[in-house]
């Protein structure tokens, strides 16, 4: 029976789906017609109109898809699965973009969007390259649109996953009882955006990263066009600025991801060698390599094969990274991979198609590709730049090989698990490679193309060498470096920075116009230096100084590396040069903030330096997540997060009168009872009980226990819980100390020994409120962030110069 659902906006999804189909068809038409147009000039004029209009229609359709989905999110059309899954009616509008690209379909749309924008720019600027380059672009777009096409033929053939699927058509929802109700929409609200992503970094990180991904298509398209059109070297001139643009944007996007992890995730750092991070870093490394060999090629006409290989692999690696993060293959190994949408096969086809296209073209044209016959001189710039590119290749190979362990398991049926200590594993390779690379970046600029006088090189490098040697000695001494590898790393990064600065000053005569490369290299050096200093000297400062006996558990194993501190509310504990106090917690929305004051003590007086508010996010999708709070100083960051805490706040606040029994003890006069807020002394029994006040009847036996409580400041309080026996029944009347949140009950009186069993009750706040926190210091991490900015500035300068020449 058909149900006439009320309140659905079916037209929106139909329009979106129409745009998707149009985008797919127009990309296909554009790819074919541009391929015909690429044949020769005459063909171009014949096919120009069709191909251009097809691609323009494609751009319009892609925009149409995006606007439709945004419109649906904006108006909360929860009848659509994507809207339901990624937003809800309470979500602030500033997160609409984050919810747009939270899911796989949305992130494909973001990618399509950037390709469309870049395609539009190329359509207008590529001139004689237009036809072949746009043919590649359109082909890539055709494949990408198919990822959101959402064709499903009897569950056998599934092509893509559409963001315009109705909730009631989604396989997980069809047939659910609430969908039998024609007015189901009235009570339906969305699932909401994952609170972890409700962070401003999540608004700017994905579009930057995807623009970076998209920009690698430009050099790829030019390289394929160059091979296809037999213009083996000419393609590099227009591709070079785009390559640098990609280096800049992709690098920025990756580092933004690091900044987000540092700010919102308690990874304990900005980089964890996580597979998802690695798979976007590797194409960046190969892209940097590609940009540099293009410069060699431009100046000397060498390393042509390497240029093709690196340019093509960068784009293929972007596809491979998409495959890794979206196929669900990373499964157990990564924290933030997407879940499988059943499109891994489609992604694999896509990846292999472009890989084969590139390889076949290279093989067919191999003989025609000009190769240089003469050997590079050892004293030439091109030789050392080439070595640098090789180091980059090795570096990316090592990262990719380890990251791909789950793929090897699938391919070869092995059962390998990732390295137990991934950071140590990657560093064992990447640290020496970084050292070699730093030396190459420092030295290579001093070489000239073709041949250089060795004496000239050593003359130019003397000053930076001495400066960085002094710098290494000073920093190494101050920061206590003793590891040879670390000292080498410190020296080479300083040398890199000094040598590039000196090159700009003495060789380039301090001219700003040509400073791009030097500035970018200095920025890269600063990134290496900041990353090295902050990670090699990360110091965990939250040792357990709470005074509670931890040594008693020594037999369970040697837990000497204690890095969590337990803080009772109100107590002041020593932590590094500070004294810390856990003040209390506050709940705001899904977040519970824990206020921790950092104090210093001079002459016995505490002064508040700053407060940090690490929080626990009660994330309905992922459970509770600790988010750090960091105090930034110029020279270091104090980074802290809660590792264990009570999250519930309402319960204790709503029922402040609720006491809990914390201890029960049999005491003789003079004995002591311990409570969270006071020490209590049992003075003895007192038979003088006010009969009226406690409603004592005739025949009752009543006795009061005289107790004296002494609080932390030494103030004393008296309290008398009463014990009454009526008709052989015990009727204790508790005694309360409101100020201290304590209540005492006499459970039993043992007259022959003059003893009593007294139960101590405390308000939950007294004894439960505590947090376990981890805190660490990242020294000089600001050099890393400053380096990012410097590198971006340098790259922009280099692009501007390339565009002008």
């Amino acid at each position: 029976m058909e149900i006439n659902y009320i309140g659905e906006h079916l037209w929106a999804g139909q329009f979106g789906q129409l745009c998707t189909v149009l985008a797919f068809v127009s990309a296909m038409v554009a790819a074919i017609s541009y391929a015909f147009a690429a044949k020769n000039d005459a063909a171009f004029s014949d096919w120009k109109l069709l191909s251009r209009s097809a691609f323009s229609l494609h751009i319009v359709s892609v925009f149409g898809i995006i606007i439709t989905l945004l419109y649906m999110l904006y108006n909360g059309m929860f009848e659509y699965h994507y809207v339901w899954q990624h937003s809800n009616s309470e979500m602030p509008m500033r997160y609409i973009l984050s919810s747009f690209w939270e899911g796989q379909e949305g992130s494909f749309l973001l990618w399509l969007f950037w390709h469309a924008v870049l395609g539009a720019i190329l359509l207008l600027t590529a001139k004689k390259w237009e036809a072949p380059v746009m043919a590649v672009f359109a082909l890539v777009q055709m494949f990408l649109v198919s990822m959101v096409l959402g064709i499903n033929i009897n569950d056998i053939i599934r092509i893509g996953s559409s963001p315009f699927l109705l909730l009631r058509d989604h396989p997980e929802f069809t047939g659910l009882p609430f969908l039998q109700n024609a007015t189901y929409l009235d009570r339906l609200d969305g699932r909401g955006l994952n609170p972890l992503l409700q962070n401003y970094w999540m608004t700017i990180h994905p579009p930057t990263l995807f623009l970076g991904f998209a920009s690698t298509l430009v050099p790829f398209a030019f390289a394929i066009a160059g091979l296809w059109q037999r213009k083996y070297t000419e393609w590099m001139k227009p591709a070079l600025p785009w390559t640098f643009f990609g280096v800049m944007i992709l690098g920025t996007g990756i580092l933004m991801g690091g900044a987000w992890a540092y700010e919102a995730l308690s990874f304990g750092g900005f980089w964890a060698w996580d597979p998802v991070e690695n798979s976007s870093l590797v194409p960046w490394i190969t892209l940097v390599g590609a940009a540099h060999v293009m410069i060699i090629q431009k100046n000397r006409g060498q390393s042509l094969i390497m240029t093709f290989v690196l340019t093509v692999s960068t784009f293929i690696l972007i596809l491979y990274s998409t495959f890794l993060t979206r196929s669900g293959i990373l499964g157990d190994t990564s924290v933030h991979a997407f879940t499988d949408l059943g499109m891994s096969g489609q992604l694999l086809v896509y990846l292999l198609a472009f890989l084969c296209l590139a390889i076949i073209l290279l093989i067919v044209r191999w003989k025609e590709i000009p190769k240089s016959k003469d050997e590079d001189s050892l004293y030439s710039r091109e030789f050392w730049m080439f070595i640098g590119a090789l180091v980059l290749v090795i570096s990316s190979f090592q990262i990719m090989f380890t990251t791909s362990i789950p793929v090897w398991n699938k391919l070869f049926g092995t059962n390998l698990a990732p390295p137990l200590d991934p950071i140590a594993h990657y560093n064992s390779f990447q640290l020496p490679l970084a050292i070699i690379l730093a030396i190459l970046i420092a030295v290579t600029q001093y070489f000239k193309y073709k041949k250089t006088d060795p004496q000239q090189i050593s003359k130019g490098l003397t000053v930076p060498f001495i400066v960085s040697l002094i710098g290494t000695a000073a920093i190494g001494y101050l920061m206590h470096y003793s590891n040879v590898m670390y000292i080498l790393m410190l020296f080479t990064t300083l040398f890199l920075i000094a040598a590039n600065f000196n090159y700009w000053l003495s060789v380039l005569k301090g001219k700003v116009k040509v400073a791009g490369a030097s500035v970018a290299h200095i920025g890269f050096g600063m990134i290496l230096l900041g990353a090295f200093l902050s990670t090699s000297k990360t110091q965990v400062i939250s040792m357990n100084t709470s005074g509670t006996d931890v040594e008693s558990l020594g037999s369970e194993g040697d837990f000497s590396n204690r890095d969590n501190i337990l803080m009772m509310k109100g107590d002041t504990l020593r932590m590094a040069e500070y004294f810390v106090t856990y003040v209390g917690k506050k709940k705001e929305g899904v977040n519970v903030f824990y206020q921790v004051d950092y104090l210093t003590r001079t002459e016995g007086r505490y002064t508040l330096e700053f407060s940090l508010y690490p929080r626990v996010q009660t994330n309905p999708r992922m459970g509770n997540i600790a988010e750090p709070d960091t105090k930034h100083f110029l020279h270091e960051d104090i980074y802290s997060f809660v590792t264990y805490a009570e999250v519930e706040t309402e319960d204790t606040k709503e029922k402040p009168e609720e006491y809990k029994n914390t201890s029960t003890k049999q005491v003789a006069p003079g004995d002591t009872l311990f409570a969270g807020t006071a020490i209590v002394i049992f003075n003895g029994f007192d038979r003088n009980v006010n009969a009226e006040e406690f409603g004592i009847q005739e025949g009752d036996i009543a006795v009061a226990a005289s107790l004296t409580a002494i609080d932390i400041s030494g103030k004393t309080y008296d309290v008398r819980p009463i014990y009454v026996i009526r008709d052989r029944m015990a009727l204790p009347v508790p005694g309360e100390l409101e100020e201290l949140g304590l209540r005492f009950v006499v459970n039993k009186v043992i007259p022959e020994q003059g003893q009593a069993e007294i139960a101590v009750y405390e308000k939950p706040d007294n004894y439960r409120e505590f947090i376990v926190m981890k805190a660490m210091i990242f020294p000089w991490i600001n050099i890393l962030w400053a380096g990012c900015v410097v590198m971006i500035i340098g790259t922009v300068m280099a692009i501007r110069r390339r565009l002008k020449s």
């Binding site: 879940t339 137990l420 890095d563 459970g623």
Partner: protein, 138 residues
């Protein structure tokens, strides 16, 4: 011999080195009985929390010791000590990956990866979360 050939040999040598290190650094997904046979060697063990058994985490005594019992995929149960604080929502976990070694009659975990079910959609697995602690003896 040309310089390019020397370079090629060096690159291949380093690449083989990288592969060898990866293979030797990587551990294998395993079970408790294998870990017990080789005390001190690190393994990845996949399994589920025994929700009936007692979990011990008493931060007032030791904020860096969490003990629980896990049943591995072969159905074998084992006491696990984790040198860190108890992961939030641990009770709700449906799958756990432990990284650690067998020592002193217990499995000493240095890392816990856990998967919690989504509160909204019971059929679907939730996202993975990772908890690390300094390894007990390293």
């Amino acid at each position: 011999m040309k310089k390019t050939h020397i370079l090629a040999i060096i690159v291949i040598a380093i690449a083989i080195g990288a592969i060898m290190t990866t293979v030797s650094d990587s551990s294998t997904y395993s079970n408790f009985s294998e870990a017990m046979e080789n005390p001190g060697k690190e393994y990845h063990v996949v399994g589920q929390l025994n929700k009936e058994a007692e979990m011990v985490y008493d931060p007032e005594v030791n904020a860096n010791l969490f003990a629980f019992r896990m049943i591995d995929n072969n159905g074998e149960e084992q006491m696990v000590h984790f040198a860190g604080s108890k992961p939030q929502d641990f009770e709700r976990s449906e799958q756990i990956v432990l990284v650690g070694k067998y020592e002193n009659d217990t499995f000493q975990a240095s890392k816990i990866l856990m998967k919690c079910p989504s509160k909204y959609n019971d059929g679907q697995p939730g996202e993975m979360q990772e908890f690390t602690a300094e390894s007990a003896t390293s």
